[in-house]
């Protein structure tokens, strides 16, 4: 139960309250009044956010390009329902993050560091920083692709991304940041709009969803890359860091777990629908040399769509790419900053002022600046970075998820809100599946690259 501290305290004995406390308290005051007044929809509106943002943030540029590329390569079939399955997996993982954040009020990085020691804590943070930087570069690349369709250059893409991070950081309130990013994330629905406008074969889509067929042919390596990319497009290390930190920063408590679950499920459902939208758009390119389009250096997919489905579809799709990259830049920079602050043991909250959370704000903007700078380097291997970003995230994901399960099952931390046996069984099955796919992809690709087995 949220405590209302009314009685005066001994000034010398009471803890100093920070701006972070007061800002969070104002948000919790609204929740308190909505709950007390029985205003259920207002309560859901106030408590929703971290789950939707984690899920729609993960429908990022590389993920949408990956879904579209898979649709273009294989057409309707196995990968359409597989996208839905991966989001179901993501919901199980993200629900644990929300629950741990709401019960412990601490971010993932801080808990791993304190509970399992600095070696594990910094290893997890290093995983995250590396994958985040690679993914951020890919986000800027995808914004560049979207803008290229409107004949706008990479400097505008870099400037737009960095400006967005700077603007959303101003204000010193988690609530403000969350609502701006949620407002942008709504436009992830452009992929669904593009799919509807592209007039796909809906009957075929329904059959694929129901039967997981036809199963794709082709080389094992290509298949593994696509499976790893699809998983990496749905469950990633930054999501785990982000949702737990955001849940804590928002001020969720154990009383809000039910709404946190709704928020996560709603986010997962929306992201699955929009992800399927991107895939379905891609299927329109199957048979039109869609498999051969690797349009990250130019404006491949939007231009190809313009030829097959018309300029309206291509324009909506290009705007969708810009949106998906922009939202992901904001959420990934946030997770980078939270992780940096938590591991360094300093304030890591949007509710703090820049002068009291210098590392948090610096890490947030620096991550964006580095990624933006890299896409402006002439001849940088952007295509390869973008294509490998999701696969790398899949390889590094099992470590993050194992610690997540350990934290969520920890009765000393979580009390009676620790994982039940059924949640643990589902979570372990997911980690095993993800680790297996990542390992198979990593080993197979390496053996091919080292010419130890023939290429696919």
């Amino acid at each position: 139960v949220s405590v209302t501290l009314r009685e005066p305290r001994d000034a010398a004995a009471g803890p100093l309250l920070t701006a972070e406390d007061w800002a969070r308290s104002r948000d919790r005051g609204r929740v308190h009044r909505a709950r007390g007044g029985g205003r259920r929809w207002l309560l859901l509106w106030l408590l929703a956010g971290p789950g939707i943002l984690a899920m729609l943030g993960e429908n990022d540029g590389p993920s949408m390009v990956s879904y579209t590329a898979t649709g273009a390569a294989y057409g309707m079939g196995f990968f359409l329902p597989f996208i839905v399955v991966t989001f179901a997996m993501a919901i199980v993982c993200q629900e644990m993050c929300m629950r741990v954040g709401a019960v412990t009020h601490r971010g993932y990085g801080q808990l791993v560091l304190e509970r399992f020691g600095p070696v594990w804590g910094w290893f997890a943070a290093s995983d995250l920083l590396f994958t985040n930087l690679v993914t951020l570069i890919a986000e800027f690349v995808v914004i560049r692709v979207g803008l290229a369709y409107f004949h706008l250059g990479p400097v505008i893409a870099a400037g737009l991304g960095v400006a967005l991070v700077a603007v959303t950081l101003s204000g010193g309130r988690y609530w403000r940041w969350e609502r701006i990013v949620l407002g942008l994330a709504v436009f992830n629905g452009l992929f669904l709009a593009a799919a509807i406008m592209a007039r796909p074969h809906w009957g075929q889509a329904a059959r694929s969803l129901g039967t997981f067929s036809p199963f794709p042919g082709g080389s094992l390596n290509t298949l593994l890359l696509l499976v790893a990319s699809t998983i990496g497009a749905t469950v990633t290390p930054w999501m785990v860091f982000f949702q737990q930190s955001a849940s804590a920063d928002k001020g969720l408590t154990h009383r809000d777990i039910r709404h946190g679950r709704l928020d996560t499920i709603l986010g997962g459902a929306l992201a699955a629908v929009f992800g399927c939208g991107a895939f379905i758009v891609g299927t329109r390119l199957a048979g039109h040399a869609g498999a051969g389009i690797q349009g990250l250096a130019g404006a491949g997919f939007p231009s190809a769509l313009a030829h097959v489905s018309g300029h309206a579809v291509a324009t909506v799709f290009a705007f969708g790419l810009i949106e998906s990259g922009a939202v992901a830049i904001l959420t990934i920079c946030a997770s980078t900053a939270c992780s940096a602050g938590e591991c360094a043991g300093v304030t890591a909250s949007f509710n703090s002022r820049p002068r009291t959370a210098t590392l948090f704000y610096t890490a947030n903007i620096t991550a964006a600046l580095i990624a933006a700078g890299i896409i402006l380097i002439p001849g940088a291997p952007l295509l390869s970075i973008a294509l490998n970003a999701n696969a790398l995230a899949t390889v590094l994901l099992p470590v993050t998820l194992v610690f997540m399960i350990l934290l969520a099952s920890d009765r000393q931390l979580m009390g009676r809100r620790a994982n039940t046996v059924s949640v643990n069984v589902a979570a372990v099955a997911i980690v095993t599946f993800v680790a297996g796919c990542g390992a198979a992809y990593g080993i197979d690709s390496f053996l091919q690259a080292a010419h130890l087995i023939p290429g696919g």
């Binding site: 139960v1 949220s2 405590v3 209302t4 501290l5 009314r6 009685e7 000034a11 803890p15 100093l16 309250l17 920070t18 701006a19 972070e20 406390d21 007061w22 800002a23 969070r24 308290s25 104002r26 919790r28 005051g29 929740v31 308190h32 412990t104 009020h105 601490r106 801080q110 808990l111 304190e114 509970r115 399992f116 594990w120 804590a248 001020g251 408590t253 043991g345 909250s349 002022r353 009291t356 291997p381 390869s384 970075i385 490998n388 696969a391 790398l392 390889v395 590094l396 470590v399 194992v402 350990l406 000393q412 390992a439 990593g442 080993i443 690709s445 390496f446 091919q448 690259a449 080292a450």
Partner: protein, 67 residues
């Protein structure tokens, strides 16, 4: 409640604070105790780390070989 937040205040200075005690910034900064991992759990975690490092090296090698 709606007045702007002011840094450096104490709980008694404000009419209401809608936070659980564990949500205060000072409480969040208090570290949680270290987990006592069994030998098998420690070995399993190290094995996972080593596996991930090897796999990451493979992916990075593959990435550079594609350049």
């Amino acid at each position: 409640m709606e007045r702007p937040a002011t840094q450096g205040q104490r709980p008694g200075d404000e009419p209401a604070l809608f936070l659980e005690p564990g949500q205060l910034a000072a409480a969040i900064r208090r570290p949680v105790p270290r987990a006592q991992l069994g030998r098998r759990a420690t070995i399993a975690l190290w094995a996972l780390r080593v596996l991930v490092i090897i796999l990451s090296a493979m992916v990075i090698y593959t990435f550079f070989s594609q350049l």
